[in-house]
């Protein structure tokens, strides 16, 4: 596995070098092209702002009021029925909604139960195997001005559910 980690550290610098070398070989004015492309970056970041403020504020209110905990409590027996330890249920529910929140919860679980415990490993796999659906929908659609999500959110959340089930199943199989 060491090789994989080394690969991902070196990938970025190599990618930059390849793009610059190839561009220069093809006689593209590299610096000018960089500035031209980069100009869009600022306005893009600004255009995401209202979407992200709206979404994070809503999630914040939901969580701070305690409604999130109540919601988790409500669903706990249901998810426990598919073989999920009740300790990781909050993580499974928070993962698609808040990336930083989920990361905090995962660290907390690892600290409490140990990195090599079943719960610690399950939390790690759950955190690593999917992305924050709400954030992705907000940022990607927000940046290009798509106001209606159509089926995107449903697809993302259903996939998250599959991901959670997969994680429980695989971790039980490998480490259980």
């Amino acid at each position: 596995m060491g090789a994989v980690t080394v690969l991902s550290t070196w990938l970025l610098p190599c990618l930059i070098a390849i793009i610059l070398l190839y561009g220069t070989l093809k006689k593209v004015p590299a610096y000018e092209a960089f500035v031209e492309g980069g100009k869009e970056g600022f306005s893009l970041a600004v255009s995401i702002m209202p979407f992200l403020v709206g979404m994070l504020a809503a999630v914040g209110v939901f969580r701070a009021s305690g409604a999130m905990d109540a919601f988790v409590h409500l669903l706990q027996p249901l998810l426990a029925a598919i073989g999920m330890p009740p300790e990781v249920v909050p993580l499974a529910l928070l993962r698609p909604i808040s990336g930083t929140g989920a990361l905090g919860l995962m660290s907390d679980l690892i600290q409490t139960y140990g990195a090599d415990s079943f719960i610690g490993r399950l939390a790690s796999v759950m955190q690593g195997s999917t992305d924050t659906t709400f954030y992705v929908v907000t940022v990607y659609f927000g940046a290009v001005g798509i106001h209606r999500s159509s089926d995107a959110l449903k697809v993302g959340l259903l996939a998250d559910l599959c991901g959670v089930i997969c994680a429980v199943w695989i971790v039980s199989l490998v480490f259980g």
Partner: protein, 197 residues
């Protein structure tokens, strides 16, 4: 759907807070999370400028096109509506590859750029096209080869072998991605059938 969820998050939170006396926390959190959102965006500016600039070089030199021709057979199956030579394909691929290697920083700008191109293909409409939903599904399922952040946290808490979760994570992420693509297809066919009626 996103409108309903958004309003519901607020209203449920506010009503719950009113009943359970947590309104002080809610008031504090409301503005804390709003400013956290702005911080995220500010953090994104430098990343967006850097990667969009670099990708412009890749686009102009034809590197992006080369990359997409390499993966053309698979991408054609996943994105049947995108012409294989269209720049959108190159950005979609760069986005997917960056995600696979856990380069979230690089993945977001490329994903946004791909969305932009897909929107152009869709005639600039403000409703998402089929390909846009597929790209989103691909991103929400988070196909990763190396979950770098998770490994870092496991190291911090003295795991015997911090990377022993890489294999299981890889299987889980592949299953999730496959499920996302299948669910996406299912909803697409449901939409088209509704449209015909």
């Amino acid at each position: 759907m996103i409108n309903i969820i958004w309003v519901a998050l607020f209203l449920i939170g506010l009503i719950y807070a009113a009943i359970h006396g947590t309104i002080d926390e809610v008031n504090k959190e409301l503005f804390a999370s709003a400013s956290a959102a702005i911080e995220i965006c500010i953090g994104l500016i430098s990343i967006l400028i850097f990667w969009l600039g670099l990708m412009k070089i890749a686009e102009k030199s034809g590197l992006l096109e080369k990359l997409s021709s390499l993966f053309r057979p698979i991408m054609r199956k996943i994105f049947p509506e995108v012409p294989p030579d269209h720049p959108a394909m190159g950005y979609i691929l760069s986005n997917t590859i960056a995600n696979m290697f856990g380069l979230g920083n690089a993945a977001t700008p490329m994903g946004i750029k791909a969305m932009e191109e897909l929107k152009k293909l869709n005639g600039g409409r403000s409703t998402p096209s089929r390909s846009m939903i597929t790209l989103l599904a691909l991103n929400t399922s988070g196909l990763t080869l190396v979950p770098t952040t998770v490994i870092a946290i496991r190291m911090k808490y003295n795991a015997v072998s911090p990377t022993d979760i890489v294999g299981p994570t890889l299987i889980a992420t592949c299953c999730t991605t496959l499920a996302a693509l299948l669910i996406d297809r299912f909803f697409y066919y449901r939409r088209t059938r509704k449209g015909r009626k």
